[in-house]
């Protein structure tokens, strides 16, 4: 509970964060930066869980625990994604988004 801050403010913040991540995902030209945008998206949800838990349903710790798992998962996902991106780099020496367009239509 943060004094003077309502749940609406919190949710607004996380929504903004989420959509900044989305925006980044849309616009970044580099696969690694795209992945970074995903981190923002995941974080938005993590914050949501924690603060909703605190603000609205403090009796049970479901939200908080959930966010722990999210963090762990984000780490795993990132690791794998980076491995895959590096794998691509090994093949084409590029991690540009526009170089992943050989398959289409």
């Amino acid at each position: 509970m943060i004094a003077g801050i309502s749940i609406y403010d919190i949710l607004t913040l996380t929504s903004i964060l989420f959509f900044i991540g989305v925006y980044g995902f849309f616009t970044r030209e580099n696969l690694i930066t795209v992945l970074m945008s995903v981190e923002l998206i995941l974080n938005a949800s993590a914050v949501n869980f924690v603060l909703i838990n605190t603000y609205l349903y403090p009796d049970l710790l479901q939200g908080a625990v959930f966010s722990i798992f999210i963090i762990a998962l984000a780490a795993a996902e990132t690791a794998l994604a980076i491995a895959i991106i590096i794998n691509l780099y090994k093949l084409i020496y590029s991690v540009e988004v526009k170089d992943t367009e050989t398959m289409k239509y």
Binding site: I7, L11, T14, F18, G21, V22, F25, L31, V34, L35, V38, I41, L42, A44, S45, N48, F49, I52, N53, L56, Y57, L60, Q62, G63, V65, F66, F69, I70, L73, A76, E77, L80, A81, A83, I84, I85, N87, L88, L91, I92, T100, T102, M103, K104, Y105
Partner: protein, 476 residues
């Protein structure tokens, strides 16, 4: 909690055991013994699948985080059987291409762990388990998509898959967090009681739905499908199209029928639109494909639209028809992918043009391919016909005749492109036809199993009747 109730997780424990055994095998085997992992893993999985035919009680574990019942158990067994067939079909590819690179056992581990994730996902009793299951089902597959490490398309496909699925799971997660905000619980059962229709819960549902729609490849969340299937090794594409799609469809159905039942008015409308969009998009794109993997990708998108028809009937009928169709679909698609796999590993050819004159050189493979495609198209007496017809029945039972009409129109369009492949194989003659070859024994076994499924699952009615009889186990 005693051992007996713990054994409710028998399927999962089995898979976990296989996983551990595989790791042990990998650690203690020398380079020459690596190839033995193929029969080893297959036997293990076969045993696990066979165990799946033993009955199992229903119940909950871990405070409701894990649920099992006859339907889920049946479904898991079906998935296990599907994976077994798929692995049989991949054995040849593994032997020739993967063992040399010393990553055959990893292939099995990844597949098994993904299957385990699938199990946990459909057995989940809360959103956390669901989410973890989803990710466990997804992430190893991303690695598998990139398995052809020397192929650019494979790497590209993996990138697209992992990033798209990250976005999708992010969106789903955001949706779950909003659901949590409106209900204060992550348990399905309690959420079903609390959830009411409100702007936020609807929005949360849409976010959440998009994550699952991504897995099932529903339009407009389907775009990754074709590229990833094309890039991935064939068996991985096959896995994506049958196992992960089927499981996602099942859990979507379970969630819609239980947790989101209060929102039924809303999601019926959403599903209605999505079905139409998915079928048309899948079919229209499939028409002009040349690469068979891509072709089957779009075909599987269209099929996903059909699966959703069953959702229009929120009762036993809908459940049973979806489960039945997914089971049938698994066999049909495995048949089709299996043939593509067999031919590709012999000749490296994956285009429809390359199949011209195939019947005259490889009649049995062509025949199986035709059966599989006709089953997908819904031609009797193959299983797919029954599956589709029952789905129409489910939708029609709620009066959605226009939707059924659109579906049958799409079934006709789909017949067109399936016939294009049949045309290439049977009608055309070619001097450069793929010469006769004899598939290895695993492949043949895999194909035969799929063929049996295609031929028997429809005409032999007890299968459906059994599914129907167990299909109310999660509905109240």
């Amino acid at each position: 909690m005693n051992l007996e109730s713990f054994l409710l997780m028998r399927s999962e424990i089995g898979l976990l055991a296989i996983l551990i055994l595989l790791i042990i095998f990998e650690i203690f085997s020398n380079k020459k013994q690596k190839a033995a992992v193929i029969p080893f893993a297959l036997v293990l999985l076969a045993i696990n699948t066979a165990l799946g035919f033993l009955p199992l009680a229903s119940g909950e574990l871990f405070g409701g985080m894990f649920k099992t019942n006859a339907l889920l158990y049946f479904f898991k067994t079906t998935l296990s059987l599907g994976v077994l067939i798929l692995l049989l079909q991949s054995a040849d590819w593994l032997k020739e291409k993967v063992v040399d690179e010393n990553k055959a056992s990893e292939f099995f581990m990844l597949i098994i762990s993904s299957l385990l994730g699938t199990y946990f996902m459909i057995s989940a009793g809360d959103f956390l388990m669901f989410y973890l299951g989803l990710e466990l089902a997804t992430l190893p597959v991303a690695a598998l998509v990139a398995y052809d490490t020397y192929k650019r398309v494979s790497a590209e496909g993996a990138v697209k898959y992992i990033l798209s699925s990250a976005l999708a799971s992010g969106a789903a997660l955001f949706g779950i967090s909003l659901l949590y905000a409106t209900t204060g619980t992550i348990y399905f059962d309690s959420m079903a009681e609390i959830l009411t229709s409100s702007n936020l819960s609807i929005l949360a549902f849409v976010f959440f739905f998009s994550g699952l729609a991504f897995k099932i490849s529903l339009a407009p969340f389907h775009f990754w499908t074709a590229d990833v299937y094309e890039g991935a090794p064939i068996n991985v594409a096959s896995y994506l199209s049958v196992i992960s799609k089927g499981a996602a469809a099942l859990i979507l159905m379970i969630l819609l029928f239980t947790v989101f039942k209060p929102l039924i008015e809303v999601w019926h409308k959403i599903i209605y639109i999505v079905i139409i969009a998915t079928m048309f998009i899948g079919n229209l794109f499939a028409i002009r494909q040349q690469n068979l993997k891509r072709f089957l990708a779009y075909s599987s998108i269209a099929q996903a639209g059909f699966i959703l028809l069953g959702l229009m009937s929120v009762d036993n009928l809908g459940t049973a028809t979806i489960v039945y169709f997914v089971a049938v679909y698994i066999f049909s698609n495995l048949g089709a992918f299996g043939v593509v796999q067999a031919i590709s590993s012999f000749s490296n050819k994956e285009n429809i043009n390359d199949y011209e004159g195939l019947y005259r050189t490889n009649p049995k493979l062509s025949l199986l391919m035709m059966l599989a495609l006709f089953s997908l198209a819904g031609i009797p007496p193959l299983a797919g016909f029954f599956g589709k017809f029952f789905l129409y029945t489910a939708a029609a039972s709620q009066g959605y005749y226009i939707l059924v009409f659109i579906a049958v129109v799409n079934a006709t369009i789909s017949l067109y492109y399936y016939l294009l492949v049949v045309r290439a194989m049977f009608l055309r003659q070619s001097d450069t036809a793929i010469p006769y070859f004899r598939s290895p024994v695993y492949m043949r076994l895999g194909l035969i199993l799929a063929a049996i499924g295609i031929l028997v699952a429809g005409v032999y009615s007890p299968i459906y009747d059994y599914i129907f009889s167990i299909s109310n186990t999660f509905l109240n």
